[in-house]
């Protein structure tokens, strides 16, 4: 058992994983996806999780976001410990405290853009905070597109609607799973800009999984994962810096 570098600071924590372990299968075929990972995601911070494929970056996000179960350790969203929650409570937690942006299939094709944005509140049976929703819509430049259905929107616009949906319910934390993976670089840059603005201007907390160094450079902090462990961290990253660091891992992986 090796000790992993722990990352912590004095500011309030939006989500925290401690000694988080996820194991698939048994015996011979056992695969350790996450190996005693401990990490904090601070409020008002934009964090990117990076790592080569199979490093466990998506698994880490899924476990912290309450989408997947884990073998041992602890995950907290705010003050709530996830390991003891039943499916129903987890669902409620996701609904009320977490926002999601996926790579694809983010929106329901049957609903208009506005209906998609307010969907989490509709599910919760809550009234949307009109002023806030309007502010989010304005910020994302979606005012003219609210009546459109997803099929009538470009990929970038669709993903902006997804960002708006994630922001609209004022979640404690937003998780993005390769949110720009399906977009061209210009639309991707736009969406990442909005995510950064939501952190800077609205004080939102965002955690994003990506394999794109340019995308990671929009974050305040980058966490690097390899073989289910956090191997490095970079504050105020630049695209080149991230790329260099990734190349270093790749080289290490090949030589070892």
């Amino acid at each position: 058992m090796t000790t992993t570098p722990t990352v912590s600071r004095a500011t309030a924590v939006a989500a925290r994983a401690a000694e988080l372990t996820k194991v698939y299968g048994h015996g011979e075929t056992q695969v350790v996806a996450l190996d005693h990972v401990t990490v904090d995601f601070r409020q008002g911070e934009f964090t990117a999780i990076m790592g080569p494929s199979g490093s466990g970056k998506s698994t880490l996000m899924h476990c912290v976001a309450g989408l997947d179960s884990f073998s041992s350790g602890s995950v907290r969203i705010g003050e709530t410990e996830l390991s003891t929650l039943k499916d129903k409570q987890l669902t409620q937690l996701r609904r009320d405290k977490i926002g999601f942006i996926f790579q694809a299939f983010n929106l329901l094709p049957t609903l208009t853009a506005l209906e998609n944005i307010t969907l989490p509140m509709d599910i919760a049976g809550r009234k949307a905070d009109q002023q806030w929703v309007q502010q989010v819509i304005d910020m994302l430049g979606l005012s003219g597109r609210l009546k459109h259905r997803p099929a009538e929107l470009s990929g970038g616009q669709q993903q902006r609607v997804a960002v708006a949906r994630a922001l609209a319910s004022r979640p404690e934390i937003i998780f993005g799973d390769e949110p720009t993976g399906n977009l061209d670089s210009r639309s991707g840059a736009e969406v990442l800009g909005f995510l950064r603005n939501s952190v800077r201007e609205l004080g939102q907390t965002v955690v994003m999984v990506t394999h794109d160094a340019v995308a990671a450079s929009y974050a305040d902090r980058v966490i690097f994962l390899a073989d289910g462990r956090i191997v490095d961290e970079m504050l105020r990253p630049t695209a080149d810096g991230v790329l260099d660091r990734m190349k270093a891992f790749d080289a290490k992986g090949r030589t070892s």
Binding site: L67, D68, D87, K88, R95, F105, P109, P120, I123
Partner: protein, 843 residues
């Protein structure tokens, strides 16, 4: 290509299951019906052959009224002469008519029209070949009778017991001398048979020493045709003689013809099942093809021709059809066996016999199943062939084009328009011809609406949706939206229910409408509290009439005695009534003159007949009675037509002299204080508690008229059941497919906070929306057809007015919703169980 088809079938076992079930049901009905009728026909044929086994020649005599005065039948003398003919071993003369016995509660045993009485004709050995006694022996004294075993069992009668026997005269008591089994038609039809001593039967049904028919047995080897010639020389000219073989053939044919109706009803079930099944099959294959777009495109890319693609889809369909038909055929045999037991359970006696498994049902089952499946898969197969090879490379899902709906909608609109025009024409025309128009129009409209159903889905579901949103929140909203995402699929799924409910609603509307009209007729036209008639549908005895006239508490009595008068060269049916009483028991609107003139020997004539023949009050017309006697009658009144009397009214005493025996169809009775249990009891008692006589109050009368409609309705409800089962299969199919296609969406919804319960509810509500949509279309169309057919009855049904049976319609909607709930059980569960993460990532 065939191997690919086989592999595909095996790969999609679960998805094809619903298709197999639908085809199976239809095929089971087709083959079941055919096997059942074959088996039953064979059994009946064997039975007929057996009952005419030792009959060489059968003689019947139904003399006309004039001749009947002199020779009412085959005399004992004729019987004796026949017995002396060459080769004749015995002659069994018969006379029969109505006879009924009560059960312990005084109610008639068996169906009224099949309660028979006959004579006991012992041969030289003292036995009658027609009856096999299981206890006691045949009646040989005039106080004895024998009963068939079922009737004796039902009434709890044992040999030596006293049995009250009702015939057309007063009830008499007899001693039970024996119990027998028989192949007699009346008993087989669920009636009863009372066997009297010959002299008693003759007195009851004909005249002493006369018979209605007889059978002649001959020594083996006697030429039956030659014997017929011999027999004809002896019997009166109006008698007919035929060989036993000919008669057995005739009887078998009659039975087969009688079974035709049942056959048609059952094949109707099969037709509905298969027709509705077509949509389900077509839906399944469309989905399978859509799901396999890439695969098919790849095959095209590596060189398969369009025709080969279509053929592979058709081969797959053929294979599915073959398996389903084979299972359906086996199921059909089970159905045939079950039907026979069911018939016995409903007191319809069917002869025993081996199951007849002909080649026709087997071939029909396979042909129908395979062809229907392939036919239904043909369009999806063609669509599959149109997939461009490049689709293999693109990641875009092939979406259903809305373009081709334009052609479809135009076609549907045209068909519907023509159908509706025909229906309106028919409704305006009225009568049988009008109904023909409506039938044609209804067929076109039904097809048209089915073609249009995808287009209808959006507006109709848009109307339902707000209620769902209000009641079920976001699940309801998403369900409503999901239901219209693929209008073709929704439409095809809803069609099953729409077709079933069109038929059933149409008939329900008609039933309610006609029922209400009948209510009005009975309450409007009958002033009397009771209508008395024979359960057998035969004539009441004059004694019963006399007894009612003297019964306590009775205020007015008039019979409706069937008669006929020849006026101006042709016969007009007339009603013999009691002057002075008839206007108290029936509501007759007099246009001219007065009904009291009936007492002075005058007649009353219905307005229409009077107008046609130019008759008015005071006219005297020469008439001829049925017994060819001539007379002159004066018109005393002209009245508006009534459902309960013939177009001519006459004092029954004037008729009595000319028609013997009197044909008293009904007796109308008014009592002090109106209809009550005590009054009804008093009437029955006055007539000697005769179980064969029914005393009906207004409600009973209405029910007896409404009976045939209710029976039709019950058959139709059976059809509805069939359509419901297929509808469930179809909805299961569609939803399973939808859940499969939308797993990413469902995963996303789960991720952003829709819990399992509400995912389930969303799928369930989608099923309910689709089912209710089908029901709404069916109910709408059915009501329209019910109205149209009702219009054609307008002229023949006084007091006709459209009645919509809201309670039934509500029930149908509820049933439809239930179909949705049931059908969604499994798809909803699998949707809720989806693994979120793999669902989101699935491509």
């Amino acid at each position: 290509m065939f191997r690919t088809a086989l592999r595909n079938v095996l790969a999609h076992k679960a998805r094809l299951l619903m298709t197999v079930l639908a085809v199976m049901l239809g095929v089971a009905f087709v083959s079941g019906t055919l096997v059942f009728t074959d088996t039953l026909s064979q059994a009946f044929r064997n039975q007929s052959a057996k009952s005419y086994d030792d009959v060489a020649v059968a003689v019947e005599m139904y003399p006309n009224p004039e001749e009947a005065r002199k020779t009412p039948g085959l005399s004992q003398k004729v019987v004796d002469e026949l017995a002396k003919l060459d080769g004749v071993t015995s002659v069994a003369p018969r006379v029969d008519g109505f006879a009924g016995v009560p059960d312990r509660n005084g109610r008639l045993i068996g169906l009224g029209w099949a309660n028979k009485g006959a004579n006991f004709t012992p041969g030289k050995d003292g036995k009658d070949r027609a009856y096999a006694f299981t206890a006691g022996s045949g009646p040989v004294e005039d106080t004895q009778i024998a009963l068939d075993r079922d009737t004796a069992d039902k009434g709890g009668y044992r040999v030596g017991d006293t049995v009250r026997v009702a015939t057309n005269g007063p009830v008499k008591e007899y001693t039970l001398s024996g119990v027998f089994t028989t192949e007699d038609g009346a008993v087989n039809a669920g009636g009863s048979l009372v066997v009297f001593d010959t002299a008693v039967a003759q007195k009851l049904y004909l005249k002493p020493s006369y018979f209605q028919n007889l059978t002649v047995s001959a020594t083996p080897g006697t030429d039956a045709d030659r014997l017929v010639d011999e027999v004809l020389k002896v019997v009166p000219k109006t008698a007919t003689a035929r060989t036993g073989t000919a008669l057995a053939d005739q009887q078998a044919k009659d039975i087969e013809a009688g079974m035709g109706t049942l056959n048609q009803i059952l094949l109707g079930f099969a037709g509905i099942a298969l027709f509705v099944g077509i949509f389900l099959i077509s839906n399944t294959f469309t989905m399978l093809v859509a799901q396999r777009t890439k695969e098919l495109a790849l095959m095209r890319a590596v060189g398969a021709s369009r025709r080969q693609i279509t053929r592979s889809v058709l081969a797959e369909a053929g294979l599915v059809g073959l398996v389903a038909s084979a299972v359906g055929y086996v199921l059909g045999i089970g159905l045939a066996v079950g039907l026979r037991s069911a018939m016995s359970a409903f007191e319809m006696k069917v002869p025993d016999g081996d199951l007849v498994l002909g080649t026709t049902p087997a071939v029909a089952a396979l042909a129908v199943g395979v062809l229907i499946t392939m036919l239904a898969a043909w369009l999806p197969g063609r669509r599959a062939a149109k997939i461009p090879p490049v689709a293999a490379m693109s990641s875009v899902h092939a979406t259903a084009s809305t373009k081709s709906l334009v052609v479809r909608n135009s076609l549907g609109a045209a068909l519907t328009a023509i159908g509706v025009v025909l229906i309106f024409l028919g409704a305006g025309q009225g009568g049988d011809e009008g109904r023909m128009f409506i039938a044609g129009g209804a067929f076109l409209t039904l097809i048209g609406v089915i073609v249009l159903i995808p287009m209808l889905s959006r507006p109709v579901i848009a109307v339902i949706r707000p209620f769902f949103v209000k009641a079920f929140g976001v699940s309801g909203k998403l369900a409503g939206l999901n239901a219209v995402r693929n209008p073709r699929r929704t439409g095809a799924t809803a069609s099953a229910l729409a077709i079933g409910l069109t038929l059933v609603t149409g008939l329900s509307v008609l039933g309610a409408t006609v029922g209400t009209a009948l209510d009005k007729v009975t309450t409007d036209q009958i002033k009397a509290d009771y209508m008395v008639s024979m359960a057998s549908g035969g004539s009441l005895s004059p004694e019963a009439l006399a007894a009612l006239e003297k019964a306590p508490g009775v205020t007015a009595v008039s019979p409706q005695q069937a008669a006929a008068l020849e006026i101006g060269g042709d016969y007009v049916s007339a009603s013999g009534v009691t002057p002075g009483a008839v206007e108290k028991v029936l509501k007759l609107t007099v246009v001219n003159g007065s009904l009291s003139s009936l007492g002075e020997g005058r007649i009353a004539v219905e307005e229409k007949v009077a107008a046609k023949r130019g008759l008015k009050v005071g006219d005297t017309v020469p008439v001829e009675y049925l017994d060819k006697q001539k007379g002159k009658l004066t018109v005393g009144a002209v009245y508006e037509g009534s459902e309960f009397v013939s177009p001519v009214l006459i004092d029954r005493k004037l008729i009595d002299a000319h028609e013997d025996p009197a044909e008293i169809r009904e007796i109308f009775v008014s009592t002090e204080g109106g209809a009550s249990a005590a009054n009804e009891r008093a009437l029955s008692k006055a007539m000697g508690d005769n179980p064969a006589i029914t005393v009906m109050d207004h409600k009973d009368i209405r029910d007896s008229f409404g009976g045939p409609i209710n029976m039709m309705l019950n058959i139709m409800y059976g059809l509805l059941g069939m359509a419901l089962i297929i509808a469930i299969l179809g909805v299961v199919n569609t939803l399973a497919m939808s859940v499969f296609e939308r797993q990413q969406e469902i995963g996303m919804l789960r991720a952003i906070g829709l819990d399992r319960r509400r995912v389930k509810r969303m799928v369930r509500l989608e099923a309910v929306v689709i089912s209710v949509f089908g029901a709404v279309v069916g109910i709408g169309l059915g009501s329209f057809l019910g109205w149209a057919i009702g219009e054609t009855f307008k002229n023949s049904l006084p007091g006709y007015a459209l009645v919509l049976p809201w309670d039934r319609i509500g029930l149908f909607l509820l049933l439809a919703a239930l179909v949705g709930v049931l059908a969604s059980l499994w798809p909803a569960r699998s949707a809720a169980k989806l693994n979120m993460l793999s669902a989101i990532k699935a491509e």
